[in-house]
Structures are given as C-alpha cells and as structure tokens.
Amino acid sequence: MSGTDKTTRHSGDGYNFAYLDEQTKRMVRRAILKAVAIPGYQVPFAGREMPMPFGWGTGGIQLTAALLGRDDVLKVIDQGADDTTNAVSIRKFFQRTAGVRTTERTAEATIIQTRHRIPETPLREDQILVYQVPLPEPLRWLEPRETESRKMHAQEEYGVMHVKLYEDIARHGRIVTSFDYPVRVAGRYVMSPSPIPKFDNPKMDDCPALQIFGAGRERRVYAIPPYTEVRSLDFEDHPFAIQRWVESCGLCGSRNSYLDEIILDDRGKRMFVCSDSDYCRSRRETEDSGPTAVVPENGRETREVKA
C-alpha cells in the first residue's frame, strides 16, 4: 500500500493533508485494514462529512484521502473517462488539499479512484483501486432490515441471491443483470462490486492490485486483497458471461474493451468507442489502428483481435 506507510504531514498552509485530519485517517485506515483482513466483509466506519454531496463518491474520497501519501500519483475515472465532471472535481479536490501528482494514465497511477469501471489495462501490485459505492449491501433488494442482512452474511445464507438470478432467467430467458453483478469473495462473503458492468467482474478475480470499496452514505468499507478469488454467482446451466459486442472500437479498433455507443448525428449514425478513454488513447498512440468511425449499416470493421 503505497499510501499508508508514508508520512502525511500537514501541508504548510494550515489545511490537513488530503482534507481529513490525522485522527480520522487513522480511523479510516483501521477500517481498511479490517476490510482487507476479511475479504468481502462490510466494515462500518465513522465516515466524515465531506465538502460534497454523497452522490459524488464521498465514501471513495475518504478512502483515497486516508491512503494518499505525498509520492502517490492519483487517477480518477468516472464511466471510464478522466474528463467527466465528477472525475475532474475529485481530482481537483486532491490537487488542492494534498498537492499530489495526478495522471490520466492507468500505468502511471498508484491510486485510482473509480466510479462505474475497472481500467482495461491490467493493474499491478503497487496500485490500489478505490471504488465509489452507492449501495454496498447485495442482500438489500430482498432484505431491507440491516440486522437481518448482517445475520444472513454471518450464516452464509445466500440463497436469496440466486433467487434474484432465477427471476432473471424465468422472466427473460437469461441472466439480464449486467451491472453491480454480485460476486462471492474468497469463497465466503457475497459482495456488491458497485455498479461496474459485469464485463469488469473477471478483472477483480486474482487481481494483483488491492481493491477497496467505500460507501459514503452507508459508511461502509470492504475490500478484495491482492490475488483473491472473486467468483460471479451463476447457475450450472446458465453460466456467468460478460457482455460482448460484434462491433469494435471506432477509434482504436479494440475488440477486447468495453464499448460505449455514441450517436453521431440525428440521422442515427452511431459509433462504438472504448469506455476507458486512457486505454483507447494509448492504443491509438502505439498501434496502427483504424480511426475511422464505423457506421453499422456499411459493414463492420474486420480487424484481427490481438491476444
């Protein structure tokens, strides 16, 4: 953990380094350590008021604040992009309160705070991925009582999670849950991966980087330690499968990345592009990919998939 073992002194102008006072950071770090020790288990923490509303990712921001050291390089993404309002304002917040370096490049970052995506570029052991979580409790949809859902976790009563998937198949012929797709961590706790697409679920499994999840409103932190088994729930006869596209990225030609559909004009001209804008750009910088827009009616690009 690059952030926790470094000294985090007050910055010279009287503000606390990374906004939170040292005592609060210690408290958050203790919660993080506990979360790492019990993979997938939701640890309560006495969250602080942050100078932004909950919907802005205050849970993730508090984790990042507690982890940041002076030498860290921070990347913030929202829907895969670094330049959306939410990502920009969180990045600015830490530039102002911690003065740390920021980057848009996944490979350069030591801490990546994210909403809705896991970067396409494989993460490393010296990186930490911090997720912003709106609804941490995967059992909430069926069991609104906190005391009861805690018992269900304690007793591993996870039948209701499969009830949800059963309903998907009964109604739609297949599992249609495609975001916030529940996983089981280290064969024990069922966990909400936050609203990432299920496309990203396999990236959580056996990941070299530490992954921690912060929910601001519900004041919960949970974690997936490096190299931990993460399994998406499914049925034998309806196995978990990620989203696939017949199209490739209209900018970099990638066939392996998660694609967003963009409407180009009011005559229905569309293009599919990588949701991870850093991944797309770095491919365009290093590879000779076709940057032309793909109009589905005119046939699809037929570029080979790179292994």
Binding site: L142, K151, A154, Q155, E157, Y158, G159, V160, H162, V163, Y166, E167, I169, A170, R171, D234, F235, E236, D237, H238
Partner: protein, 295 residues
C-alpha cells in the same frame, strides 16, 4: 366446518379419571405413536414450557411428545396461548422456562431452546417448515411462484436452474396450482392459492416437522375443505409430523391424530382426537364441543 364433528360415530366411552381436577390425559392412547410403522423415538419432547408477557402467563406447564408422522392439533379459544406455544416450540420467541428436545437426523438429539441461532435457522430451511396463517407473511410476494418454491433448494446449494424449475413444477402439481402460473407473482394469487404455495415452499426440502398456525384461517369454506384434503394426503404421503394450531375443532377432527386443548395458557385435556371430541372429559372441552355442535 362444524358439520364435520358429527360425521363419525361416537367413540367408545373411556373410563372416568379418578382425579377430575387434574389435566385430563388419556394415558392409554396419547403416549403411543398413532400411525403404524413409525419410529420408536419421539420427534419432539416438550417439558414444562412456559412463557409470560409482562408478568402475565400466556402459556405454562406445557408438556407433551410428538412422534414422527403424527399430526397434533392445539385447540382452544382466542387468547388461550396457542400461537405463543407454537412460537416457543419453533424457536420464534424464547420461552421463559421448560425445555424442548428435537430429534434431528442432522444434529442428533438437540435442545431447541438453547441451540445456537444458526442451527435453528438451518433447521427452518431444511427439516422444519413454518406455515403462517396469513400466507403473505410466509411468501416472497415480489418474486415468482417458482422462485418461492425454489428458494430453499437454492439456499441448500442447488445451482441447476433446470432442476430447480422441475422441482418447483412438481410441487405446484402436488399442491394443485397450475404449472403455467410458475412465473407469476403470488401477489396476484387467490388466498387459497397463496396458502398452497406457502405450503409447497416449505415442503420442497421434505421437512419432518411442520408448524402451522391457523393454516385455513382466512379462507372461505369450500377453499378450506380442499386445502384440508390436500394437507391430509400430503401429511401421510410425506410422513410429516405437524403441530397445528387451530380454534376450529372441525379442522382438528379432519387432520389431527391427537389433540391438546388449551385454556388460559394451560393444557386442560389431551388425547386421541376422536376420543376427546366425542367424549370430552374436561368441562372446558365439553363447552367447546357443545358450542360447535350448536353452531
């Protein structure tokens, strides 16, 4: 259901007990298994169970045994403590005193009142079933009938969608719900269908012991009669032991091998159903039977 009482010929008169004030128990009949070929050991041994609310006893000094495959009805007027007793026995609430031991194939001989919560929760998903008077309390109204039946299977680790569905269809057939309703929400089912679904949802793991509180309570008479027929055949087919709370002696007559009559929290009479109803010894039971006959 009152007409059911008179259907059978009066049972031969049993000799009067010597102490008329004591709880009227027909020792000859009540301590034996009722259906042939059942196991020798009781499934449930209840001893001196009592429960008070704010110092007022709701039930007290309750003792009885239940054998595998036996249907025991607890009858008595409103407020006599039937539901309280049932909830104590099924560990829904904590009894103040007494003990209940349950003979579990998984856990062996166990003390219900002192068992850890996770063991009890597991029993409730496997060897036990609980049928609420209001089916809405025992169903998940927001998920389909098939998922309601399949839930216990999934919680036991069944991970084959096709197999869960087949099993759900089998049970829907058994409780006489048309299979093409499998994907419908029970929210839109009639009361009788909801109650049958609740029963199926419990029976899918083949429990050995069912707790039922007024299972036919909210239903109109013709629907009740059908449900009672169904319950009777399921009990014998599955060799189910049932503790059935009802204030309806007709229901007890039809389903129960044995009766406990409760008044003011105590058991005042117990014995084989036909014996108790055809020849009630305790004045309170006589009153109960008489009031039904008049109705």
């Amino acid at each position: 259901m009152s007409q059911l009482i008179n259907k059978e010929a009066p049972y031969p008169v049993v000799p009067e007990q010597s102490d008329p004030d004591a709880e009227t128990e027909r020792k000859t009949a009540s301590s034996k298994p009722c259906s042939p070929g059942v196991d020798d050991n009781p499934l449930l041994i209840v001893e001196d169970v009592g429960k008070s609310f704010n110092g007022t006893p709701a039930c007290r000094d309750i003792s009885f045994m239940l054998w595998p495959g036996e249907v025991l009805a607890i009858v008595g007027e409103s407020g006599s403590g039937k539901t309280t007793l049932l909830r104590c026995l099924s560990a829904g609430i904590r009894a103040d005193n007494g003990r209940t031991s349950y003979c579990s194939p998984t856990f062996g001989e166990m003390d219900v009142f002192t068992s850890p919560e996770h063991v009890l929760r597991q029993l409730h998903r496997t060897e036990w079933g609980l049928v609420h008077q209001n089916p809405r309390d025992g169903l998940r109204l927001g998920v389909s009938a098939g998922a309601n039946i399949g839930e216990r299977l999934m919680s036991l680790g069944q991970r084959n969608y096709g197999a869960i569905r087949d099993e759900a269809l089998t049970w829907m057939r058994k409780v006489e719900i048309n299979g093409d309703r499998i994907d419908d929400l029970p929210l839109h089912f009639s009361g009788g269908m909801q109650q049958r679904l609740q029963i199926a949802r419990n029976l899918v793991t083949k429990p050995r012991l069912m707790f039922m509180d007024e299972p036919t309570g909210g239903l109109d008479v013709s629907v009740q009669a059908r449900l009672l027929d169904l319950l009777r055949s399921l009990c014998s087919e599955l060799h189910l032991a049932v503790i059935l709370v009802t204030h309806d002696l007709g229901v007890a007559r039809l389903l129960a091998d044995r009766l406990l009559v409760m008044q003011c929290g105590r058991v005042v009479e117990s014995g084989l159903t036909d014996q108790v109803l055809d020849d009630p010894h305790h004045p309170y039971t006589q009153l109960l039977v008489a009031s039904i006959l008049e109705a």
